[in-house]
Symmetry: C2
Subunit: 401 residues, 2 copies
């Protein structure tokens, strides 16, 4: 058996970011930059007013002074002239500070009388002026390659005058559920069979992780069918199978893919739920074979598929984010398999959340997994812990998982 | 001036969830259920094996016993007969436990010899059997109305044999940027003008929050143009404007919308960055008027638009999630406006993250906002705090914001 960490490392080492594509700015949200975004202009492009008021010469704008208003400088409409002695220009937030002026008199500190204003509070030089380049300068790198773009980044790229972005293509993930016993929801269920839940849960998880799922038809437990379906997935960046990864006679993914000249590794991972995992390559396409059990498949996805999606998307890929919590109950000592207890997460008085495992942890219980808010991590051979002891947990709400 | 909390409450009270629509299961991810998902079947539908092994009568499966293997029960292929005295049936995970058997002998505890198996470890009655209905029973409510569906929920709904879901329609959000001075990225920039960053940042934020953005053409600072654009947005669930919400002469959203018989409120909110906010109704369509300043617009969106999107999507809508952090620097006392300091967030030794505000907090600095990982909340009149003091922060990475 290999460790969770070793399995993840081997998976990540075998994957590379998808090639770049050019997308219009609005399509860049959630994608990972393949090339940096450089500022195409200086922002602000000149000194501008930070407030609504009057552009003035500070030396003359002392309390009690009266200044003649000679024009207006709203944002987008620069005043054509210059502010001379005893003069002021009405200005609005974002308006260019006209030549001659060196400060802004706030409108709440000014009293208008006809074509002049009375200064009610002395103005300091430079006050309420945003200097040219305060935000960024032309040519400056604003967003580095390898960054997953947030809504704020899209705003920054727009402000930098960037209509197009070069990003990694969204990874296309083939999803293949195998098994004679499974049927799609609403389809007739064979005797003794169950409804397939993995394909669409995995598809949702792939979407949550920024990938494009391609759900292949269910392949019955038959070498030929599995090999056919797998061929359909050769154009994918990753093929994810579920089922057929165990050690029983009816575990066909290995035997079906093997004879086609595919390089396949089979790992037993020291973890629960989960354990058997297929990893390998089908021609150019990496293959991740998840257990057929839906709970195991989804827990393995959190540990291995989400980091793999990150790597394909252009990020390094890493272990899922964990937070510190307090055990809501006593926890027994753990055996040699890394355990992931399905748990609720509640706020507690001191700010550290309380993670309470569900009493039954059977790996067939999808309802429990769906209701879980966190997975409590129990390292191999972890000692028993009393209620209230600190534990590390993976919060599950993140990213719509 | 009204408080942030009061503004959010008034916005949420004025909004209702969008009407329901029927979507295929895979389209349900991230949507909010308008009707609960009930189990259409019992899972497992009968007693099944939890492991690969042999279905046996526990009373006879004692260490050293030899049992005749009379058939096979893989998942999806029930064994037609009954397990009699001295007999066993080869069984695989998920296979139906045949009549007569009451426990599973693990395959690692069995030694095969021709058509029989030698029991190497005594079997306990009921061992490794998953009882009918262990996960859920037909008719049971599995997912309540009002729940935003995760990938795990999609798996659970599939397992419950649900091909269709009834969810609230994704809210359609009209986005209208106003101003003579703004141009779309790549378009010619007027003299003294700037590139419009709000429309596409807001569109990305709407997508991140599960809405459908409709970006309207930029409206110049002209009553007629704004009124025209606003009319185009009447089919939206919410119209968001940016710019024109200040108190200067060139703030036209109010004056443009007012004469059309629109109910408009104008609020000054005791917050920074931000402050002026328009709220009202354009016929049936609620209107949220954000400041034109991009940093203010985005901070206001985190505080007001994201909760509004939640409410329209079918959730209650609430203040953004906050976490506890430690101040990375001394913080000065705050004035009467609720402040939101742009800050980095670093892990610290004891697990509580360290939130360090950027030295310059000018509300025109988009680069700083994009680089921020959190907003440090500074309540009105909050006292000065030394570095290391606990502070409440809104983490910004969530949901791709």
């Amino acid at each position: 058996m290999i460790s969770v960490e070793e399995a993840r490392t081997r998976i990540l080492e075998a994957l590379a970011a998808t090639p770049a594509e050019t997308v219009p700015l609005p399509a860049g949200w959630g994608r990972v930059l393949a090339r940096p975004v450089l500022a195409r202009l200086t922002q602000p492009p000149a000194d501008v007013s930070a407030m609504d008021g009057y552009a003035v010469r500070a030396a003359e704008a002392t309390e009690g002074a009266r200044l003649g208003v000679i024009g207006t400088a709203p944002a987008g409409h620069p005043f054509a002239g210059e502010v001379g002695s005893g003069q002021a220009v009405r200005i609005f937030t974002g308006g260019l500070v006209p030549p001659g002026a060196d400060a802004i008199l706030l409108q709440e500190d000014a009293e208008v009388a006809g074509a002049s204003v009375l200064v009610k509070e002395t103005v300091r030089p430079g006050r309420w002026i945003r200097r040219r380049g305060l935000d960024f300068a032309e040519g400056e790198e604003l967003l580095p390659a390898g960054r997953r773009l947030t809504a704020r980044d899209i705003g920054l790229a727009a402000a930098a005058n960037t209509p197009w972005l070069t990003v990694h293509r969204a990874p296309r993930i083939g999803i293949l559920a195998t098994g004679d016993e499974i049927a799609l929801p609403g389809d007739p269920i064979p005797p003794g069979g169950i409804v397939s839940s993995n394909a669409h849960a995995l598809a949702a998880l792939v979407r949550a992780g920024g990938g494009e799922p391609l759900v292949l038809p269910i392949a019955p437990d038959d070498s030929q069918a599995i090999a056919e379906a797998a061929r359909a997935a050769r154009a994918c960046d990753l093929l994810v199978t579920s089922g057929g990864a165990s050690v029983g006679d009816h575990d066909l993914v290995q035997s079906a893919l093997g004879p086609q000249g595919f390089t396949l590794d089979f790992w037993k991972i020291a973890m629960r739920p989960g354990k058997p995992l297929i990893w390998g390559r089908l021609g150019p396409t990496p293959v991740l074979g998840l257990p057929g059990n839906p709970v195991s498949a989804l827990v393995c996805s959190v540990l291995f598929l989400v980091p793999a999606l990150d790597r394909l998307s252009g990020l390094p890929g890493a272990a899922p984010r964990t937070i510190r919590a307090l055990a809501g109950t006593d926890l027994p000592e753990n055996d040699r398999r890394f355990d992931h207890l399905r748990a609720t997460l509640e706020p507690s008085a001191d700010g550290t959340p309380l993670a309470t495992p569900f009493p039954a942890q059977d790996s067939s219980m999808m309802k429990t997994l769906a209701r879980a808010e966190a997975l409590i991590l129990r390292a191999p051979n972890a000692p028993a812990l009393p209620a209230g002891a600190p534990v590390e947990v993976i919060p599950l709400g993140d990213l719509g998982l």
